[in-house]
Amino acid sequence: MTQPSGPIPARNFDEIRASCGIVFTDWSEANDAEIYAGIDISDLRPMVARLVENGCRLASVFAEDRTTAGSGFLLYHVFESLNDRRYLLVRTSIPVDTPAFPSVAAEIPAVNWQEREIHDWFGLVAEGHPNPRRVALHDNWPEIHPLRKDFPIDTVLPPFEGEQHLYRPTLGEGVFQIPVGPVHAGIIEPGHFNFAVAGEPILYLQLRMFYTHKGTEKQFEQLPVNRAVYLAESISGDSSVSHGTAFCQAIERASGIEIPARAKRMRTILLELERLYNHVGDIGAIANDVGFAVANYHASRLREFILAVNEELSGSRLLRGVVCPGGLRHDWEQQQTDHCGAALNRFELEFAELMRMIDASDSTRDRLERTGILHPDKARDLGIVGVAGRASGVDRDLRRDHPYAAYDEVSFQVPVYLEGDVLRRMRVRVDEVWQSLGIIEQILATLAPGSHRAAVPPLPPNCVALGTVEGWRGEIMHWIRTGSQGRLERCKIKDPSLNNWPALVEAVEGNIVPDFPVINKSFNLSYSGTDR
């Protein structure tokens, strides 16, 4: 049971269901993007195996507490198939008196952290998990399961005692460890990296994340939906629009509304602006980490171009407070979009010059090529998504595979490389900058006047819905269950970084410590998005 490789049979979920020999109950198409089906817990492992053999990818695993509704716990395995625009969410009931489920992490390492998260947050044991240690709560936390309904969010836990995490010992003659973090040397988020090194090369890296765990998923259950959008924007500060849009799409699906064409196009522009400012910043930062400071200064200047466009269009440099359920909070005047188009034309010229400067530097290429290689097989097995996946042969992009907003109206290419090194992770970004500029240009040319916001009816209770967005890092998922009085019973958030951190561990192996910063930068993962 490994994730699919090579050519994948052209089959959709209905065909797979008919031929896989697994008995699903309540197979139902909730909308044009989601299929829900139930399964008996004893069939869970064979079901996952059969679907994966049939070319499906296990995108996420999560749980919810339905004990107050008398349904125990529910576990969801989310699948995608290359030839189906819908997601399949397979639901398994877990009775309260046997809080456990069979793990598939040994066969599908992509869900390693996600299964352990379920254990930490709900107290459901992942049976047969190869490494059933805590992940989302640190070792010194008391035995609590905060996402259970009977756990009050404002619980004040006593002072913690003992170690936050026990690392695998670093043994052997001449082998030593370098602990780094959680407070890092740069202006970045907190996490702990524990390197085992022999001389300069890294033998292995142990990660400890979740330093910024702030109870976000539980917090979603407290706020009315119109306020929860702001929480979604604060999941990962550099992906405000992506997370905000994913959340709003889930709300819109649950409410059964379609947003106006203009709103879809405006969202597309905002999502691409977010990609642009992050990609150009990363390109500069990668150059900077191998000593090319001049390129970084130009790149950060170009990034300010985009941030100014953001502010012109949304009132916020980081595009906060712009998306809302039903569309966007404010419409744009003609002069705002004109300004956007003119600024991007200037950006385009300058970006071409920047890339000529970087491409002309042999020493930069020398440092980036064959550095921090993530082999395509590993990328596939670990379920790596987004930029890092596409640099290692994972040809996936939600904008093309599960179109949302106005992505089905525009043409664009999805860059894919097989080498999986830092250079290719940078190249994917460079190619995507050009594609983003093309997408915005196409949208601006067709942006007709119209409504920018649809009325959103009161949220119907007990509806489930998924919102997905290809953020600039990769696949973002928000899954909600609505509750009463316009609130949410559950909001599950999956940031692409949650998939991708293990890739960093693989990519640094055998590289020298001084190359770690550039390798890390080439992934540029979100700590807050992971930790929530």
Partner: protein
């Protein structure tokens, strides 16, 4: 190499002159909301719309107290939209940093009308119920001495104690050629042991509490702590929950608070320079020029 010089010559100077020259911010920028308390007749729509509870009301015995906390505000502008009466307006004011947490909190007192609206403004109080004490003469002397020691050249250690990374993006922007912090003699250092100032973002998580405390202890005296962003000041939209302890001042003493979500780079500069005594604190409730009837 020649191309690089040519490019530099073509690009010319891009660095802003702030604070020597006033900042130019786009017309659409959402800065601080201005509340015309004497004209405000009903705070309830704004309270209902506020995502973080930065606008709150308390009622008792025919009186209503409306409290606005600029340290909890995420500057989304929903209050002005929901209010609609013109008593709440979004301004472009971003110089919001203050020395006392209480300076960010304003409470207006009104008699309560029978229809639930507010009567004539009966009083306006600045400061939180507990805090906002003015500096004692000795404390002021110490502060002046610190400004003298640190005011001209400053080393900052940034600490993310649980932020969403939004504040880090804007703090990082201070190093770019547009904002160029070093022109003011200020730079970021890699270790708290080299730092004069800790620039801390939040909300402080339970998992970062100890690391923040250790970083504070590792920073040599005299030192300045600046709390950045709504979350760093008050916990922001995350508030206090099982995983967070709220603002930075619940773990270490804070000298200056910089509101925003995130604060734009100019606002960060204002706060840092305020902490050094090189800029002045503004009065948040002052009527901005843009709010005057034309």
């Amino acid at each position: 190499m020649l191309n690089m010089f040519r490019k530099a010559a073509q690009t010319r100077l891009v660095t802003i002159g702030y604070p020597q020259t006033p900042a130019r911010v786009p017309e659409n920028f959402r800065g601080a909301p201005y509340f015309d308390f004497s004209a405000w007749r009903d705070a309830r729509p704004a309270v209902e719309a506020c995502p973080t509870g930065a606008i709150a009301i308390r009622e008792s015995e025919g009186r209503r107290w409306v409290t606005v906390d600029y340290g909890l505000c995420i500057y989304c502008g929903q209050c002005a939209e929901a209010d609609g009466s013109g008593a709440v307006q979004i301004t472009q004011n971003f110089e919001l940093a203050v020395r006392e947490r209480g300076d960010l909190i304003v409470t207006a007192e009104y008699p309560l009308e029978t229809d639930g609206s507010q009567g004539e403004l009966a009083g306006l109080h600045n400061g939180s119920p507990s805090g906002g004490d003015p500096l004692e003469p000795l404390e002021r002397k110490i502060q002046q001495r610190i400004h003298k020691v640190l005011g001209r050249s400053l080393s900052i250690r940034e600490v993310d104690a649980g932020s969403c990374n939004g504040c880090e993006i804007e703090i990082g922007a201070l190093n770019n050629p547009v904002y160029d912090l070093e022109r003011l003699g200020i730079h970021f250092v890699a270790s708290p042991r080299h730092a004069d100032m800790l620039l801390v973002t939040g909300p402080v998580t339970r998992n970062m509490e100890l690391a923040l405390l250790k970083t504070y202890r590792a920073t040599p005296d005299p030192k300045i702590v600046v709390a950045v962003g709504a979350c760093g000041i008050s916990g922001g939209i995350f508030g206090r929950n099982y995983a967070t302890v709220g603002g930075v001042d619940s773990v270490i003493p804070v000298d200056v608070f910089i509101p925003g979500c995130p604060p734009r780079p100019h606002a960060l500069l204002h706060g840092i320079l305020l902490a050094l005594g090189r800029m002045e604190q503004r009065i948040l409730t002052a009527r901005p020029a843009s709010a005057d009837p034309a």
